[in-house]
Symmetry: none
Subunit: 221 residues, 2 copies
DNA sequence: GTGACGATGACATTTCGATGACACAGCGAT
DNA sequence: ATCGCTGTGTCATCGAAATGTCATCGTCAC
């Protein structure tokens, strides 16, 4: 396992790599975002430990922009207490973790090991159709930016439909993908769930069209 | 700076004091808890390095009982990897630290120096959410300024939730972080602990929200 | 118009979280 | 060693929320 530590505080530059090495990890060190970027270009790491604030910028911004290009290596942010407020930013992208300074070295090791083991998780994508956004990671749905709370089944059905926009999906497809094998294919659960889903998505035109004899599809009128 | 090393392994009895002396520290050595207790009674130390397991008992128990009497000298525990599971116990008192065997000697020095410098009166970070304050060092929680006494497990769970405010945390996450490996992931310990935590935090709106099928999260209504 | 299919409200069932009561282990005091 | 207390875990039960079933009504295509 190979880890990159990006840290500018001299004390932590010593302590963090030492701790990680004691857990049998190979550790490289960078002092700012520029050199981290270079190291990440050259080597493959299983995990990156980023200090939140670095001399040449905010590491979260850097990570966010790299994530946009599909970069998926897990990141652990070291953050000061007073930066906690904007912690949300750090978690827009799944697979990351953070630790508040000062931290127990014990905890650092545990987290880094866990992140490294986990491997590059493909960031759960956000599906979009018309004015609906579905965040598969957070299990959140927004319509026109407004948060809509869905039941588990409703979410699951909407997710399936949104992953095949404008395609007609049969009730059988839905039963097979969103229900377990115990589900009765003869019942009208799907219809009922669609009705409930529509009810929740009131706040715009009905995007779920019934295709007679075939199933349902997402379509913006 | 004067340090007491409590260690029974003959090899470490030599190596650890040698390392610390090389960092200009005055080092005394004890081979078991009984003689450590005596030494601590006679002398004033800036830091104590305790092996986790000693011939006459578990050093954590000893430290814990002394902490109850207000003893505040910072302690560094040397612990084997397989004792990691019960790391939670070790954190019942802030200001202490852990080092996992085998460790790098430089790391030991850095940590002991840091603990000694810090002195017995450190103020570790305080987590805040809504009107709840959690002092990780003093293991104290206040709601709207009023002191609330929590059990160790309750505290540990609240601390975990407060370190991830508004994020949904699964029961598995909680089990993994707040319980040792003996915990049964099938039981409802987490639910029970949450209930007890809620009961203690009465005195304001319920901040702990159950997210059906996913876990719990802290959220101000 | 009519027959098949979809929509939907009302109700039933299932699942899951909350909680009180109890059991047990560890620890301090005697 | 024994006893009692305190903290934590287990279990059974309760109740609410989520999901499924059913009956009825509407509507679309022929």
């Amino acid at each position: 396992m190979r880890v990159l530590v990006v840290e500018d505080d001299p004390e932590l530059q010593v302590a963090v790599p030492a701790a990680l090495r004691s857990a049998a990890l190979a550790v490289d060190l960078a002092g700012d975002i520029a050199s981290a970027d270079e190291a990440l270009f050259v080597n493959a790491y299983d995990c990156v430990v980023f200090d939140r604030m670095l001399p040449d910028g905010d590491s979260i911004r850097y990570v966010r922009s790299r994530r946009r290009d599909g970069w998926a290596v897990p990141v652990l942010f070291l953050t000061a207490m007073d930066q906690l407020a904007d912690r949300v930013d750090g978690f827009e992208h799944g697979g990351d973790d953070y630790l508040v300074k000062p931290f127990a070295v014990e905890e650092l090791i545990v987290r880094v090991l866990s992140l490294s083991r986990r491997g590059p998780t493909i960031r759960p994508p956000i599906l979009r159709y018309a004015d609906v956004e579905l965040d598969t990671g957070r299990r959140e749905v927004r319509r026109a930016g407004v948060l809509v709370t869905l039941r588990a089944k409703e979410f699951s059905v909407l997710e399936f439909l949104m992953s095949r926009p404008e395609q007609t999906v049969s009730r059988t497809d839905l039963i097979e993908h969103c229900w377990d094998s115990a589900a009765d294919p003869m019942s009208n659960v799907v219809d009922v769930t669609i009705t409930r889903l529509r009810a929740r998505l009131r706040g715009g035109p009905d995007l779920i069209q019934a295709v007679r004899g075939r199933g349902y599809r997402l379509i913006a009128p």
